[in-house]
């Protein structure tokens, strides 16, 4: 895989491990990093050897916010022309599972990145917050939308208006975090879970992701229809035949991702 300036990407056992790599500034997110992130994700999405993407931060933090210097002097027209958040939209279009592992801070843009993951593991010491309001602004890369969809309007507003920190336990209790794990083994346990998913039938995995994402946004009846089409579609796959044959023959299935 190509070299990145702000990321380290390692491929192991069908997993693309993407690590934010600016540890000296707690992985503060700049535009070039997001562009690289999208490149790495899209690359992994197309690479048939890769089943799952794991996203984490190098060093003490996941990502402690955005590079403030980069945007301090910007005006609305600069944003309109540069359209820096377009890259964030592309993250939503990644079809393979993105599993996040958060230790330390996930603040501002770092929190948005964590919310953009499909499944999120965090250490007991992880802390989340949207401190943008204290700088006179607000989240701009999906924070108000993603947070509200997960924790509901009233809790979301309280956190977004104050910029208060959310502990890992609080994030777990309101369904932002899937699992709390001891920091020492956070990445290892995350990779273990990712490895399990890589052994699953990958077409089913991505169509499940697509259907679940539809459930978040569209009316139930519409979602049911889309789910059904995806269900039918899987009957065209070799893995469906292998899975059902293996079940009948009482042996473990050998999935191929086809």
């Amino acid at each position: 895989m190509s070299e990145y300036r702000f990321l380290q990407v390692t491929v192991v056992d069908g997993i693309a491990l993407v690590e934010l790599n600016r540890p000296d500034v707690l992985n503060a997110i700049n535009r070039a990093m997001v562009t690289e992130l999208v490149q790495a994700f899209e690359h992994a999405d197309k690479d048939e050897r890769i089943g799952v993407i794991v996203l984490t931060g190098k060093g003490r933090a996941f990502a402690a916010g955005a590079d403030i210097d980069e945007m301090r002097k910007e005006g609305p027209i600069d944003f309109e022309l540069a359209d820096p958040f377009a890259d964030w939209d592309k993250i939503l279009r990644i079809r393979k599972p993105i599993i996040g592992a958060v230790k330390g801070f996930a603040l501002g843009g770092g929190f948005e990145l964590a919310l953009a993951c499909d499944v999120l593991f965090a250490s007991h010491q992880a802390q989340f917050a949207f401190p943008e309001v204290n700088l006179g602004v607000m989240p701009g890369a999906g924070g108000t939308q993603q947070l509200t969809k997960i924790i509901g309007k009233k809790k979301a507003l309280a956190y977004l208006w104050t910029g208060d920190r959310m502990t890992a336990q609080q994030a777990y209790d309101c369904d932002i975090v899937t699992r709390l794990i001891d920091e020492e083994v956070l990445l290892e346990e995350t990779m273990k879970f990712a490895k399990r998913i890589t052994r699953q039938p990958s077409l089913a995995i991505r169509l499940i992701k697509e259907s679940v994402n539809v459930a978040v946004d569209v009316p139930l009846e519409e979602g049911m229809k889309q789910e059904r089409k995806n269900f039918y579609l899987l009957f065209a796959s070799e893995d469906q035949k292998e899975g059902m044959n293996a079940f009948v023959e009482k042996r473990p299935p050998q999935f191929k991702g086809r």
Partner: protein, 257 residues
């Protein structure tokens, strides 16, 4: 660097001494700020494997400095912003913390001792659950720890009656790890601390973490936490050293990691 406390590290033992002897080490906002800073410093320092919390002079700590109380103070906010960080710093510390209770520990001073892992008491020391006498509830984590250490009924009795607990009584209640005669005080506190400093520090932290996990977990959750803890302990150098020393029939030499 610190004005209301002293911080010394000798042979991997950090000693934090509450240092307002003229005021029986009564707690001020500054003392709390310095104490939580020192606790974090000791927690994160690679040179420290054990922490002693003690008091200068006659007392361990006489609690909140009441001469600073005034009508417009919001006690809730004082706890949130001043005591809370101290208690959390102690709770988050994975190294053993010894309260070397050299004299009276009253009010929030008692609370500090309760948040420690061990309480070594001088024979002339005592605990005073003083809060109710001034019409306040025990604070700074007091009831959280006290009820776990002595049980609900005794915690309620001490708190409602506002009694004094002598060192011998504290020993009988399992509040004191050890009661030490005055003439052997320093020697025995140091021996206890250095014994701990030579033990597997990382593993002791994991034991603390697991014991605390048991407070708020269902059995399946706890068993999962235990599996994680043992996995981490199994990766330590001290585990390898412990096993090797056992096979070699020699005392282990733990490095703390």
């Amino acid at each position: 660097m610190y004005e209301t406390i002293q911080y010394d590290v000798i042979q991997q033992v950090a000693t934090i001494t509450l240092h307002r002897p003229a005021k029986l080490n009564a707690i001020t906002l500054q003392l709390n700020a310095e104490l939580s800073k020192a606790l974090k410093q000791a927690s994160h320092s690679d040179d420290v494997r054990v922490i002693i919390l003690t008091g200068e002079g006659r007392a361990f700590c006489s609690g909140q400095d009441l001469t600073l109380a005034s009508d417009d103070v919001d006690y809730g906010d004082v706890l949130r912003t001043s005591y809370g960080p101290v208690v959390r710093a102690m709770e988050e510390c994975e190294k053993p913390i010894i309260a070397a209770v050299n004299g009276v520990a009253a009010g929030a001073g008692f609370s500090l001792a309760l948040a420690c892992d061990f309480r070594l008491m001088s024979e002339k020391a005592s605990f005073v659950q003083a809060f109710v006498q001034i019409g306040l509830i025990p604070d700074a984590g007091n009831l959280y720890y006290l009820s776990k250490l002595v049980g609900h009924a005794k915690a309620l009795e001490l708190s409602l009656l506002g009694g004094k607990v002598t060192a011998e009584e504290a020993k009988a209640l399992h509040l004191a790890t050890k009661v030490i005669p005055e003439e052997q005080w320093e020697e025995q506190v140091n021996a206890f601390a250095h014994q701990l400093a030579n033990m597997p520090t990382k593993t002791m932290g994991l034991i603390k973490r697991n014991l605390k996990a048991s407070w708020n977990s269902t059995l399946p959750e706890f068993l999962e936490a235990e599996a994680n803890g043992q996995k981490i302990a199994g990766l330590t150098n001290d585990h390898k050293e412990g096993v090797q020393a056992f096979l070699d029939k020699r005392p282990p030499l733990f490095q703390g990691n």
